[in-house]
């Protein structure tokens, strides 16, 4: 049996690593590394759940870890990579409202606000240090995901934002509310559907349905760019 204090410290390290991955997602412009960062983040979550299982011996946590491992660390990143390859988007350099640096500062601010808020609300519950940290980072992660969604223009980055948000919810659930397994499973199915849909849409653009282009704003630019390229090639020939 490992000492509980060691486990606590392990969890703290893992949570900080998760926070670091979120920060990386916020600032990264390279799409491929975004997806791999996300899968690392999910993997870290799996570790957190496993360590918690060692402390609590709750089978539910093990199931959660397994589910997360399969869906978020493997299936979803796989789909994302396929989209990325198919669309041939390598970089996402367009930003809305916030540049990456200011987004990073904003997320520091968010963590402070959330900390303050949770301290005021949960103060009287006298949670252990680790649980409090986990809950704070969980809520902050949700906010950071949202921040990613509105500050990036590429749809693929937006999807990563949604996924990050959900990881935040999972983290919060692990530490504070005991998220039931069934809800977590449903959320995972939602996420898989989201990525699947995104994949289909991405492939749909490559097929001949021209009307899709006008409807999907983020993809439209890309499509126009591509058709211009194609036309140029045609002229060259």
């Amino acid at each position: 049996m490992i000492a509980p204090a060691l486990l606590d410290n392990l969890i703290k390290v893992l949570i900080n690593l998760i926070l670091a991955t979120a920060a990386i997602i916020i600032v990264k412009r390279d799409v491929l590394s975004l997806v791999s960062t996300y899968s690392i983040q999910s993997l870290l979550l799996v570790f957190v759940a496993s360590v918690l299982y060692m402390e609590n011996a709750n089978v539910m946590l093990l199931y959660l870890a397994l589910l997360t491992l399969v869906s978020k660390a493997m299936i979803i990143p796989h789909f994302m990579e396929r989209i990325q390859k198919k669309l041939n988007i390598k970089r996402d350099v367009e930003f809305h409202y916030l540049s990456p640096t200011s987004a990073l500062f904003a997320s520091v601010f968010i963590i402070l606000v959330v900390y303050f808020f949770l301290f005021r609300i949960l103060g009287e519950l006298s949670l252990s240090n680790v649980f409090f940290l986990g809950a704070t980072v969980g809520v902050s992660l949700t906010f950071m995901g949202m921040l990613i969604i509105f500050s990036r223009k590429q749809t693929i980055t937006n999807i990563v934002g949604y996924l990050t948000m959900e990881n935040g919810v999972l983290l919060f659930g692990l530490f504070l509310t005991e998220l039931p397994l069934i809800i977590e499973a449903l959320i995972v199915i939602d996420l898989i559907m989201l990525t699947l849909l995104a994949t289909i849409l991405a492939f749909g653009i490559n097929s001949s349905i021209e009307e899709f282009h006008a409807r999907l704003n983020p993809f439209k630019r890309f499509a126009a760019f591509k058709s211009r390229l194609l036309n140029n090639e045609g002229e060259d020939e």
């Binding site: 303050f116 808020f117 949770l118 906010f143 949202m146 969604i149």
Partner: protein
């Protein structure tokens, strides 16, 4: 139902059915009023707390009585009137909506719960809105309709606020006594009902909506819909809240202002329906004066005077419904016959439309409060209450009463002047336009409808003493029957003696001719001419601006070249009350509309910021 199909016969049948049901209702409500009993029944339960249940006591039955009388005569009138419009679909929808409108008014009055009150209130507002928009092809009508719609919805909003506060205080939707309501409940109720009743400064929709809507609808709206608002005010102030002296003063003040400004604005109008609309404001003012006096006198424990005030107000409510609907219906006939609403272009109609003229005349006498007609009786009661106000304890209030009394007296006098103008210019002298020259008397049903009201105007005036003693308030009014018998005797005597003793040589001349031969209609007294002195006297009220520009041929300004003069009327309430609100709304909505973009990211950013701010606030409060 029959909106797209069915012709004249279907409309006739449905209007007749409406008329018959009005007669039944009339019988029922008169029994309730006479026996002074209360009935209550529940109809339909939608949700546990929300049910349509009805309750009819003497007050409600009295208003149902008024509504059924007016609806009866308007239904009969409409049989002929609606045939002037074109298109079966339009005519049928007019009939069906009109009946829905009447029904909703009755059910508002009969409502037992706040929920059904508000529900039918809204049905009433919506159906009347569509009816106002009936001639939606015209630009003015659309403007009037939108204006009316905004005002009427505003009234519902205020009522909703008040009802929610009542519900919070009592925990039930029943219209029942609330022990400690905040004064805001009264203010909201007053604003809500005030907008609907057309109290100044919420009156502006009346002069727009009445001329725009068909005349039978104007008769319903002016005759009874604004009375439903009065009913609501009375019901809630007396039966739900506990009236206070300050409320009485507020109602009294609003009444005085509405009365005097209503009649002053009416004087300058030449559009016959708008003129009548302003008179509605005036009469609502008179009703509110009576009601305000009731609350003031009750607060000082003077029950007899208070009774005089409230009975005067209620009786005036009925009388105004009678003669105002009568005037609107006859005005509708006139407008139909002459195809104009401008009284300057009428004239001489007494020869071509004698019965319509007679009915209009009866209505005009009643509204001018001349004895022995009904308008006199109710105004007399309110005057009596005023004159007895020396018995009030507070000298400040006494001064206020005297000021109110003088304004009220001025109002009555100006109303009489205004109807001299309205009747004289419309019906007397020679026709001033081609249409007026070729006007024809209306059809039978369009005469029968007003005839009922005209007869009731006379009956409720002459036999007012008998009616009141039947209801148990004998000492309030003088016996007008004796006075009217005396008056009739004097007239008969004068007539007979003239017939017998005056010279029989007939001299044929033209009316108001002053001996001028071959006179033409332009030489007659015009409506503008008639009201010019009054407009000049009250120019501070109208904010009139008279301008004239003259140019001359020579530099000494003696040989006149050309000139132009104009009188501008400044719309005070529109400029200072309505337009700033409208502009502010416009400004805010323009500012807010910048949040509306075709950009998902922006919306997510907004919700992000909102959640963050909420978190901060919650953290602060926790």
């Amino acid at each position: 139902m029959f909106i797209s199909k069915g012709g004249r016969l279907v409309r006739r049948i449905s209007l007749s059915v409406a008329a018959i049901s009005c007669i039944l209702l009339l019988a029922f409500s008169s029994i309730v009023v006479y026996q002074n009993q209360a009935l209550s029944f529940s109809l339909y339960q939608m949700l546990p707390a929300l049910q349509f249940s009805f309750f009819i006591d003497r007050l409600a039955a009295f208003f149902i009585l008024i509504i059924s009388i007016i609806s009866l005569s308007v239904s009969i009138y409409s049989i002929g009137y609606i045939e002037h419009y074109s298109g079966d679909t339009k005519k049928n929808s007019l009939v069906s909506l009109m009946i829905l409108f009447m029904l909703s008014m009755i059910l508002v009055v009969a409502s037992k719960t706040l929920f059904s009150f508000l529900f039918f209130w809204e049905i009433m507002a919506l159906s009347s809105f569509i009816l106002v928009m009936f001639e939606y092809e015209k630009k003015e009508t659309r403007k009037a309709g939108i204006f009316y719609f905004i005002m009427t919805q505003l009234s519902t909003v205020f009522l909703l606020l008040a009802f929610i506060m009542i519900y919070n205080a009592t925990g039930s939707f029943d219209i029942a006594k609330v022990s400690d309501a905040s004064p805001f409940v009264f203010l909201f109720l007053f604003a809500g009902f005030g907008i609907k009743a057309g109290i100044i400064p919420f009156h502006k929709w009346l002069p727009y909506a009445h001329p725009a809507s068909p005349s039978n609808i104007s008769a319903l709206m002016s005759g009874i819909m604004i009375k439903v608002a009065i009913y609501g005010l009375m019901r809630f102030v007396l039966f739900v809240l506990t009236p206070e002296l300050s409320w009485g003063l507020l109602i009294f003040g609003a009444g005085v202002i509405s009365a005097i400004f209503g009649v002053i604005y009416a004087l300058k109008e030449h559009d016959i329906k708008r003129l009548l609309a302003y008179h509605s404001i005036e009469n609502i003012g008179i009703i509110l004066i009576g009601f305000g006096l009731y609350i003031i006198f009750s607060a000082y424990g003077l029950t007899q005077l208070a009774l005089l005030g409230i009975i005067g107000a209620l009786f005036h409510t009925m009388n105004h419904a009678l003669f105002k609907s009568l005037l609107f219906l006859t005005a509708g006939s006139v407008v139909n016959a002459t195809e104009t609403k401008n009284i300057e272009e009428m004239g001489g109609l007494i020869k071509s439309m004698p019965y319509t003229a007679l009915f209009f005349f009866i209505g005009a006498i009643s509204i001018s409060a001349l004895p022995p007609f009904n308008g006199f009786v109710s105004e007399f009661m309110i005057f009596q209450a005023f004159l007895m106000s020396w018995s009030l304890a507070s000298p400040m209030l006494e001064v206020l009463m005297i000021v109110g009394l003088t304004i009220f007296a001025l109002t009555s006098a100006l109303a009489a002047a205004c109807f001299v103008k309205a009747f004289g210019i419309t019906f007397l002298a020679a026709p001033r336009s081609e249409h007026a020259k070729h006007a024809k008397e209306s059809s039978f049903s369009m005469l029968l409808g007003p005839a009922i009201l005209a007869i009731l105007c006379v009956v409720s005036g002459v036999f007012s003493y008998q009616i009141f003693s039947l209801l148990g308030y004998a000492s309030l009014v003088p016996n007008l029957m004796i006075i009217s018998i005396f008056l009739v005797a004097v007239y008969a005597f004068a007539f007979v003696s003239l017939r017998a003793f005056a010279s029989n040589n007939t001299r044929i001349g033209e009316t108001w001719g002053c001996g001028i031969l071959s006179q033409n209609p332009r030489m007659e007294y015009t409506a503008s001419g008639f009201s010019e002195p009054i407009v000049t006297v009250f120019k501070s009220v109208y904010k009139t601006k008279k301008t004239n520009h003259r140019t001359f041929f020579d530099k000494y300004q003696s040989i006149f070249r050309e000139g132009a003069g104009e009188i501008q009327l400044f719309k005070f309430f529109e400029e200072y009350l309505y337009m700033p609100v409208a502009r502010a709304t416009d400004y805010i909505s323009r500012r807010v509309s910048c949040f509306q973009r075709k950009d998902l990211d922006f919306y997510i950013a907004c919700s992000f910021v909102t959640v963050l701010v909420l978190l901060l606030i919650m953290g602060w409060l926790a």
